[in-house]
Symmetry: D2
Subunit: 268 residues, 4 copies
């Protein structure tokens, strides 16, 4: 039987669908809208079973998924959602042991998904120019126990990345096309490049410069998540959905491909 | 400089967008529609640089991503695409060290993505009743060097899974609702459950039985990938797209939640 | 020069994007959040020119489109949106002179689009069991000057429709499959049938009964509208969108097609 | 009972889903892949009933919808699909009696939908520079009996439109932003403007010039049609779909709105 232990990160699901993520600490209390949950009561309790707040309102404690953690993040900016993060992992070939450079940490949502995928031996080097965002991301990563595989560097990426031979570079900044030399310098030969930008104009600019800077196998896409109301007899999509977070752009670092692999050559 | 070595798995990108995945072996030849590439010429050559077939046609050799490998798989069935696989990884919390049970190996596409994510210490236990599919999946996994983290078992899952306390169970079978007891038995308390089904009728059936079998936090969704032609001055979506591979269903194993967490309670 | 005249229906567009639809009447005032607009000032004024409220806030008066009118409707229920209404018109072949029967008037949104398309010689016969909805729809149609081509009948459609040889029948009710005999009776030979239902379960039920009741050329679809923020240098989809209003189902009334045109025969 | 008459336009639906549109003429034969259908046999026959080719293969004859006619058009270019055409009708307020100017006739698909909606008293004035396209569109419109409400003019629209006070102008040309003065000249005060362009770059260019040329209420959107396989027990989206035909842009002609209604002001 799986038991909750001190210092565990838990997902608390209340009956009304409210979700809380907490780290169990002796003596702490979780105040919900329907009563208090004492951490001490949970420590040693089995996971996945119905329990009650001090007001008798039912809840269940479970281990959170990386999806839950990313969605729960304290955010001070638009985050990269799990629907994109999952695809980014596969496109950038990020897995156990990968060394990944990220430009634009933001709140650390993608950083968290990358860190989860590369641990324990890989490493995420993430750059962010704003001090407040660095602090927020550091706190978010520490909260979920992933701080040890991430190095947060407060720095303007125009000055370049410290890393060399990185497996992948991902940019979540406003003008990614300005930092492609820096990305190339950090990437291994043939390394994986990715970026997310909110507007079509930025996509055009980025893929133009990617082509001129000897990147190849350029792909542009969007990932749309359509959720359904999970009612067996009345199955239907939710009324509203997130229609846009960003366009994803992927490419590979190459050499001297400009003349022989011209614009559009790898269109399908 | 990253050099191609004997036994490396390589992605060959021809100028016209054609893609080949090969494992470098001394003496072998890759026959393309535009000339021959001798493996011996590639062994020791730098990655990411333009080379030529014996007919002078340009190509570039790169390390493939797990995305490339999944898309290249020899398939005898509808596969789980990377757009779904990436999201499944995050929802099922699959990462380094995870122990995952898969019912319905098929061609092994999702198996491959799972194996890539859990290696080297995790394990994927995958069940498939058809012998020919088991052989195909085994070959596909061996081709990409992931066979050692996967156990393929030719078995009807009605007989149950061998594993206990698994972190996650994923079912890609026609009637997943028939195997929820088996899934519960294999899962850890609070463990992650997922399934993919092509029709809305199957979704209704599955979420109905999930609710009655003490699963909770049920989510149903679809992932849509919209690709763009990567031409800077003429940015536009591709004319046609994959409109449907399957509905994804996720849930958590719980206990005695039926009466207190009734149908639809965790709708957002 | 096009001038606004007494009794004209006008769309008032304020600078901040707020939209009002009014019928010009001598002595009336439109109270906006940014000042008052006297109808008298607009009567005789040219359309499409910047004017100001009594507080000096700019606005423009234009003739509303049927799209504007449908979106502005007073609603007491989920309405059929213009994205669906436009497609319904083409699929049901509704145009000038058409005689259309509608089951489930609701707030009258689709009724309005149908009336606009069939006027002045066609006719929309619309049935609604709830008296309050009949009154609301009547008011909505009168407001936009389309009441004269519509007959609203407060009646349970189980009792049948009065019309015969109708060009098209459209049902926007919870259980459309219960009224297919009534629809057949009202339709001309080969006539056009359509329905909208919110859930996948209803689609299954409806197309099953349609097939058994000698309808053919069955089509099921959804129409998705994706809007963009119209900023030239930062073109991007809006953050959120309507993800679902309903599934559209279309079919043709036929005779004795059951045995020779079995289920699924006209799948593409 | 509705009977097929000489000169009727009919939709022939074969059992396997094949569709043919024919005009009934004495003595003519329709050669299908499964046998011959003599027009003479259909003249006087009831619509919506199963009949057989000379080889005994079942088919049904029905009146085609405007949707059927548009989809069946002989095309020498990308057409505007019904999913867009229906929405265009509502956004441009096109209905019985409307006078609409179209720049870029192409194969005449949208022309056909417009003509169907404005007949018998309205009029579609459509401009096309290529003689071959003019001939094709004329033939397509004559085939479906809508030629009498359409004037096709072979002309470069840079030279301007002949019409004044038109209710709506729609442009389906490569560089619509070059013809906005011409569109303004043809439009009534406050008139409806629409355009379709395939790329995001064209959208940016067009909405930029629209804003500078005193158009307002600018809207940009896409319409996506998702079809389902109509099988009651296995309801699911079709595997592939049309992912893109074009971006739709709508606006209203106004005066002197530039300074007070700046870019983006009417974003929602």
């Amino acid at each position: 039987m799986a038991l909750a232990r001190e210092n565990d990160l838990l997902l608390i699901l209340a009956k009304d669908g409210k979700r809380f993520i907490v780290r169990l600490e002796r003596g702490q209390l979780l105040h919900t809208h329907r009563g208090i949950i004492a951490h001490d009561d949970l420590i040693g309790a089995p996971l996945g079973q119905v329990r009650q707040t001090h007001l008798g309102y039912p809840y269940v404690a479970l281990r959170p998924s990386i999806h839950d953690l990313v969605m729960d993040i304290k955010r001070a900016s638009q985050i990269v959602y799990p629907k994109e993060a999952g695809y980014i992992l596969l496109k950038l070939n990020v897995g156990p042991g990968s060394r990944v450079v990220e430009g634009g940490t933001g709140s650390g949502a993608l950083t968290m998904a990358l860190a989860h995928a590369v641990r324990p031996d890989g490493r995420v080097y993430t750059y962010e120019s704003r001090e407040d965002m660095c602090r927020l991301a550091a706190k978010n990563l520490a909260n979920v126990g992933l701080a040890d595989v991430v190095e947060i560097k407060q720095r303007d990426i125009a000055a370049g990345f410290d890393e060399r031979d990185a497996d992948a570079v991902f940019l979540d900044v406003r003008t990614p096309w300005l930092y492609l030399d820096q990305a190339r310098e950090a990437l291994s030969d043939g390394g994986f490049f990715g970026a997310i930008v909110p507007t079509a104009n930025q996509v055009s600019e980025l893929i133009d410069v990617l082509g001129r800077k000897e990147f190849m196998d350029i792909e542009v896409c969007e990932i749309l998540l359509r959720s359904y109301k999970p009612v067996p007899t009345r199955l239907r999509p939710t009324d509203r959905m997130v229609a846009h977070t960003g366009y994803l752009v992927f490419a590979r670092k190459a050499e001297s491909v400009g003349e022989v692999f011209p614009e559009g050559a790898d269109e399908t």
